[in-house]
Symmetry: C2
Subunit: 306 residues, 2 copies
């Protein structure tokens, strides 16, 4: 299934001319998993041509305004567009009070169910047929979480020529074999999936740090990720400020990436003071080679893997 990460907002605290407030979307087939929802997320979605009717789960890392103030407007716009599908929101304690108080004080109705799930501890946040989302407490000033999207292992690659050689007719039987089922041919022979497919492939993993100082727990949590999306609010020269404000610098994020043996690092939540991100990129790259500083509307495609 096709999967990509779309950065809708890459600033921290305050937006800039080029960067909107925090929001990253994992688009997996026709489903959205949104990490944080800063002010103007709805407009960024319009600009990125992401629809308002997709199956959607929103994960709020913490209740600082820059990370969540896009939620009320997004919900209202979805209602104006007559959305019917339920939307699921996951966030720390207080998420429900925030969303409900805005809805009540502005008296806007919704055309869909708003399911709010408050997270009270690290662990599995939600489980679907083919993926789950896990949370770990992040190292920030407010009750705050990092999230990991974990795809379940997928069946091995299907080899049509092997199926043909064994005399399996194209169609339903191929599909059954691809999905791990034993099939019986018309001449009575049985064909096992592993005769026509490669080894099962591990699912993809995407980790979103939210706002955090480095921590060993996070390294374990992020281990082996295909993409680690990590905050890098301040450059290394402001490490003391980052420490005081519970944030990370590029080289700290890169050290986390290296320790966690991730495949790729994308830095985000960039302080408004940086109009040019070259310095941040250089500081991270000295530690970890495969790194980008995300810009708004950056899209990272995740290949299916072999």
């Amino acid at each position: 299934m096709s999967m990509k990460v779309v950065f809708l907002g890459t600033s921290g605290a305050i937006p800039t001319v080029k960067r909107s407030l925090p929001c990253v979307v994992i688009q997996r087939g026709n489903e959205l998993l949104m990490m944080d929802c800063g002010e103007s997320t709805q407009r960024q979605m319009i600009k990125a041509k992401i629809g308002f009717h997709k199956k959607t789960k929103v994960f709020l890392s913490h209740l600082h305004g820059d990370h969540v103030l896009g939620m009320p407007g997004l919900l209202q716009t979805m209602a104006l567009m007559n959305r019917k599908k339920k939307i699921e929101v996951y966030g720390p304690e207080g998420t429900e009070a925030f969303l409900r108080c805005v809805q009540e004080s502005l008296r806007f109705g919704l055309t869909f169910d708003l399911e709010i799930n408050e997270i009270h501890k690290a662990g599995t946040v939600c489980v679907e047929n083919d993926f789950s989302v896990e949370a770990v407490a992040s190292n920030h000033v407010a009750p705050s979480y990092s999230f990991a999207f974990l795809e379940k292992p997928r069946p091995g690659k299907f080899f049509p020529e092997k199926a043909k050689a064994l005399g399996v007719p194209k169609g339903l039987l191929w599909s059954k074999l691809q999905h791990g089922e034993l099939v019986a041919l018309s001449d009575g022979r049985l064909v096992k999936p592993r005769e026509v497919t490669g080894a099962a492939r591990s699912g993809r993993k995407i980790v979103y740090s939210g706002d955090t100082k480095p921590s060993d727990d996070f390294v374990k949590f992020a281990f082996g990720a295909d993409i680690l999306i990590h905050e890098a609010t301040f450059d290394d020269s402001l490490a003391e400020k980052a420490e005081l404000d519970w944030h990370s610098t590029p080289s700290q994020a890169a050290i986390q990436a290296k320790k966690a043996e991730v495949k790729m690092l994308a830095l985000t939540h960039i302080s408004a003071r940086y109009t040019d991100s070259t310095l941040l990129l250089q500081q991270a790259r000295e530690v970890f080679e495969n790194v980008v500083v995300a810009e708004d509307f950056l899209v990272l495609d995740l290949p299916l893997g072999e």
Copy 2:
């Protein structure tokens, strides 16, 4: 005093690629008067290079999300920037409950006084030394107001050559005469202001409709405005929908402008369905010649007048 109107958001209900949610700012010298504060106003202010530390009054026409959801983020950003000046907010009943509930549920502190003034009836909303703001109930589905900015009459134009001819020395005495004071010369002669200045000039008037259907009350309210900023959500072919949704069409807005004998009409609050506003402009111009359809970041300068 220099004065201009800056359109920060010109869409209605839902933003578009080109239009942010409703916000119009009157910039008068170093002071801001903001009409509505849709989501992303803070970022539009950054793009328009309007600072966060100016003396500021915000007037909220009504408590629909598209008109007010930029307030919490704007306040938070002002606090992050260590604003010290009080901010005054004027809006219908419920304004305080909305702003306070967001502030409490997200627990953000402010570095300045937030003075919230709820409007309960038409009349004078605030009075300053040289201007006042008036409100009238607009014709919309929610408790809703239109606002008029009214500058007090200014002293007449000063004629230096007349002062020179009367032997008034340049400097303090000129300034006194300009400001309407009688002055005594060293030879004992008295000079009256009207000997060296023109007639007092009427103050400038800017009217903002908010969301509204046409009404006779509004015509009286807007009479003689230098600029009438009027909503035109739907084009004339959707007049029935406009009626049902308590909105106006371009020709309705233009008829109001004509009846109110305003100098200029600026249409805003444009439905997201219009990617091109030519049609809206044509419909209005058939009724009232001096009209523009506002785009985001349009600036209208108001000359001082004679």
